[in-house]
Amino acid sequence: MSSLGNIIKKEVRELMTPATFVPIIIIAILFGTLGNAIGSIEEEMEEMPIIGFIDADNSNISHIATSIFENYADVIFNSSDLSEKEKGIEEIKQKEGVALLIIPSNFSENILNNKPGEIEIFWVMKGAGIFDSLSSAAVDQLITIINSNISYELISTNATVNASIALSPTSRDDTTYFKGKELRGISPSDVAGVLSSQSTIIPIVMMMIIIMAGSIVISSMALEKENKTLETLLTLPVRRVSIVAGKIISSALIGLILAIIYIIGFSYYMNSFQISGSIDVVSLGLVLSPSDLLLVGLSVFVTLIAALSFCMFLGTMAKNFKSAQALTFPVTILALIPMFMTMFKDFDTMPLALKGLLFGIPFSHPMMAPRALIFDDYLLVLGGIIYVLIFSVVMIIIVVYIFKTDRLLTGSTNKRLSTIFKKKN
């Protein structure tokens, strides 16, 4: 064998370790699941928006609007009776529609009298993620088309209206129903805008803390092994659980300090994009109460413990600093996935597989908590806290068990099993 071949063979052998492949395999599986789920979202995006309408005007001008609805949307409710408004909204809700649009009886009369014809839109909002707002954006587009078609009609028929009405003949009055709340005067895109500005910082900060503190804890374990200090530590009169807890708590503290520094910088960055909005979030109830903030804090805390105990588990597998860096990779991915998923879709509107994946990743819960608490979804938040707490306890038990076995020093845990097996024989 040539020298080059010899070196390649040696390098490949050294790199072909479980620590190299296991994280990549886990990530491939995660991406596979994510890909399938996003595929189902794409199918949803290609469908026409489901709407209902009431045309109480029944005029030539209102027919322009209704014909656009018929052609470009999946109309599931159609009436000319205004008293059927509640029935229409219920039907939209039941059939997972987007909105009920009402053309009042004075629609064309107003336009012809130089007043904008008002379209009342009752939105049934399902989620506040980027993908969730796609169907409402499609309805928004219909309104724009209606506006321009009526405008064309007014100009081509030489209607006696002033220029501003001719160019912009309609106005809209939005009411959004979202998670049991009736939000008057705002559209789903306004709601999504308010929620995203309120709930962007926690996922990003959470992701940063997990990655920073997690890499500290994994590296700490790796350095104990690489610097040959672990053996001494394990023979000192200190309980294994104290070693594990000590590493987790110290990494959490350092992680929090790093996060605070990060938050200060990030909030300056975010403030530069803040536009003082006209939406009164307090009167709409789109703010967190002090008890909600406490729950968010609790969720962040238990998640940090979960993340660090998971990293401790990974750290027990690290042989040296180099392998520790590879082990940080799955933690980064597991922190990034929920951050992006919660940006794109609301938990409620996700396909079941994605819901399972998101709930299963413990880092997701504080990212979902603020939005869920605004809409009083305490079940998701409390369930998440309990799940993350159980995850942390299980992880700590596993890590302490590993600390009590030979695995840390010899890479094998099977001695207890072999002892049991021997006893049975």
Binding site: T235, P237, S418
Partner: protein, 237 residues
Amino acid sequence: MPVVKVKNLVKNYGTIEAVKGISFSVNRGEIFGLIGPNGAGKTTTLRIVSTLISITSGSIKIMDHNLQKEPDEIRKIISYLPEDAGAYKNLTGKRYLEFIANFFERNNLQQMIKKGEQIANLGDRINDKVDTYSKGMMRKLLVGRALMIDPKLAILDEPTSGLDVNNAQEIRKLIKNTAKAGTTILLSSHNMLEVEFLCDRIALISDGKIIEEGTPKSLMIKYKAKNVEEVFTKVVR
């Protein structure tokens, strides 16, 4: 009463039998040496006695504490110096001693640290970061760490490994004096001359089994050998 009592100790790593039923005991203040080639099972035995790894079968008692049932009690009275041990590189030598002493002594902490400094004998360099130490300095610091706590049993794996003649001699003297002060010492070594100088009794270990045991002098007489190295060659053959 022996400080260490090892009975029929077996340790398997999967299908590999690292230690195959060895028994020995070490009395108070005695220096007992495990001698053998690489892979004979010396380090595995010391790691087991240090509570680091588990026993497959057999039993170990240290000062009447059962190693399998009371590892936490045993850790209070032992001190282990691994062969290639290191220290926390971002700490100074003194801080490292302080870190270790905090696990043992709360009342006479400074006294214990002072003792560690004296044993390590690093002068002003004790206030430097461990990262800047030479291999010899590091080993002296670790010996200081291991002996400053006045352990009932000091377990030293190749205590002079990698040291030059002067440093090795200094450490050997320290070990001798520590044993005279009442600490029991269980050590392993490749260095037969070192063993002959240090140990009151030795056990020759090969392929996971103790093949001979006794005082260096009695073994040299028994095998008509000039030194322990010759004894070992004759026994293994």
